[in-house]
Point group: C2
Chain length 359, copies 2
């Protein structure tokens, strides 16, 4: 029996910590809240895209307890649309929890899963891709993942190798396999071959299909979700128990890499997960000789090529290039942009030193 066609929903995942944006992003002020592009936060921009696809009534957000008040304030969403996780359990649990909640309200729902910290300037192309993917997800009962045509041999993203075209759904492709972040040489080969796409971590599926595939591919997770599905009311206690039982896995690992029902929709619009200061610098157009200022007053910069985030007082850069200079008033980072991925180590070391004020 074909599933009853439901409404489009959008689930924004706002759970990440964004340690690689230290010191601008902190535990109390994580990456989705950073106003990095045109004075707008990544969360604001993502919710805008979510509304465009799903309409204002069917946007959901999954976030941690400590950020829920800020999320409600920032987005204006009603409380029942903000799904508060009692604990961090990575994205498999987050999308499972969202699917259970949405299915309870709209059993035929098709939903798009959007991480809250991506930059996608072309909202129209993005929405069109989501719509096409949603038709496939409903019609063929598949999990669709957005695959972005790579523009450089990036070693910071996972890749999708595309398979043959999907019958009856123009533009959709089967997925041959997922591959982890490659070495530089392999990333260059993927770029040359042309049949590899960046795995954007943006998904489109019906609530029913994802729950079926969780059951098939990640039975532990399914068992953790089960009590939430059958409960008439999802009490805090019930939720906490579910989260305690749930494995902590990315949905890619728990479901996508194992499922036989995965398609991808290749897209070529600009997309970035702005995972590091380097990728934000790229996104903002930092290049040799040209600096970009996210905030603050860059009063002097004779060399250029830097990413600057200041606090109001004048900043002078003399003879330096390729740096991230991030001054939040209570902490200061000066880092080579091409070492930005190692910022995790910095934060880990500050934590190890018991410097909670710093993290």
């Amino acid at each position: 029996m074909a599933p009853k066609a439901g409404q489009p929903h959008a689930v924004v995942l706002a759970g990440g910590a964004g340690e690689r944006f230290w010191p601008a992003s902190r535990q109390h002020h994580p990456k989705p809240f950073l106003k990095v592009v045109a004075g707008k936060s990544l969360l604001d921009a993502t919710v805008e895209r979510a509304r465009r696809f799903a309409g204002p009534e069917r946007v959901w957000i999954v976030c941690g307890r400590e950020h829920a008040p800020a999320v409600r304030r920032a987005t204006g969403l009603p409380a029942q649309r903000v799904l508060v996780e009692p604990d961090r359990r990575n994205t498999a649990m987050a999308v499972g929890f969202a699917a259970v909640c949405i299915a309870a309200e709209d059993p035929g729902a098709v939903l798009a899963v959007l991480p809250a910290d991506h930059v996608i300037p072309d909202a129209r192309a993005f929405t069109a891709a989501l719509r096409r993917a949603a038709r496939a997800a409903c019609g063929a009962q598949v999990l669709v993942t957005l695959g972005v045509k790579p523009t450089r041999p990036d070693t910071g993203y996972g890749y999708i190798q595309v398979g043959p075209p999907a019958a009856g759904h123009r533009g959709l492709r089967h997925v041959r396999r997922f591959v982890e972040k490659p070495e530089a040489a392999r990333a260059r080969r993927y770029l040359r071959r042309g049949d590899y796409l960046w795995n954007a971590g943006i998904f489109i599926w019906t609530a029913r299909t994802i729950l079926e595939e969780i059951e098939a591919c990640a039975p532990d997770l399914f068992r953790a979700l089960e009590p939430l599905r059958s409960a008439r009311r999802r009490s805090a206690e019930l939720l906490e128990r579910a989260y305690r039982r749930a494995p902590s896995l990315p949905v890619d690992v728990a479901v996508m890499e194992r499922s036989r029902r995965v398609w991808t929709i290749p897209v070529s619009f600009r997309w970035s997960d702005v995972g590091t200061w380097q990728s934000l610098a790229d996104e903002l157009g930092v290049r040799p000789g040209r600096s970009r200022v996210v905030a603050g007053d860059l009063a002097y910069d004779d060399t250029g090529g830097n990413l600057v985030w200041g606090q109001g007082g004048p900043i002078a850069l003399l003879g330096v290039e390729g740096l991230a200079v991030i001054d939040t008033g209570d902490a200061l980072l000066v880092a080579r942009l091409d070492r930005a991925a190692d910022l995790r180590r910095v934060v880990a070391e500050l934590k190890a030193k018991g410097r909670r004020d710093a993290t």
Copy 2:
């Protein structure tokens, strides 16, 4: 007639702006006030050296009007020992003014002129050199300049070429000539030859000799000083008029390079005018792999070789070396240490932009 032998005095010149220490040094908080070495300001350390040579009663300071209260507070000197310049007229006028004031009190005075912003760790060797120079200055009625044996081909200092030994004063030498800051190749030649010394800008002379040589070499300056010499009371008005008339020249140019009565005392103790962040870094022992923190909390630094001045919040440096990172809370400088001499340009540009808050 041989001059009556007077007492040793010391004149601390605290007039400089220290723009090359921006942003730590500002118009309201110039370089001599910076606590850069062992938590002590350069001014404190200089006054200590001055007292060691001249005794606590005969230390004088020349400074600008805006810094006089801070100078009095910092040094505890009585008001009549703080010679307040109504305007900036460079060092020729400053030493002329000091000589006039000291001669009025002690006509046979011998005096050492000490810039307030030098670092000289070996106070004992320094005092011994000043004493020997003072005997020569009194006995032979010459201007003595301290010549520091160079340890590297520095292009930031002027040089003195030494002449033959001075008869009757062991360790003193005639001066063949003064040379301006040289190019790198010439500085290397000077270092190899061995008969060139750094011109430290530290002088020893009697009040009588310097005033005679000002008369002979810089008659304009002498005319400006004349009314101050003959006045019974040096009113503010008289002083202002004198400063308006005085040429604005360094004493090296106005007197030392022209006078025929100049000797030098070569010394080999460690001396630095810490004229730039680079020279402060050298002084503090910054070298590849080793950073130094003047103030603040360097919480992470994986590469080293940086000079850091912070404000309390954690500072993280990732993959950078050879930098000055100077955060004063209201301004931030990130500069390559080997470009530190160009900081003047930065300050000039901030001034040109009307950024008075920044300078």
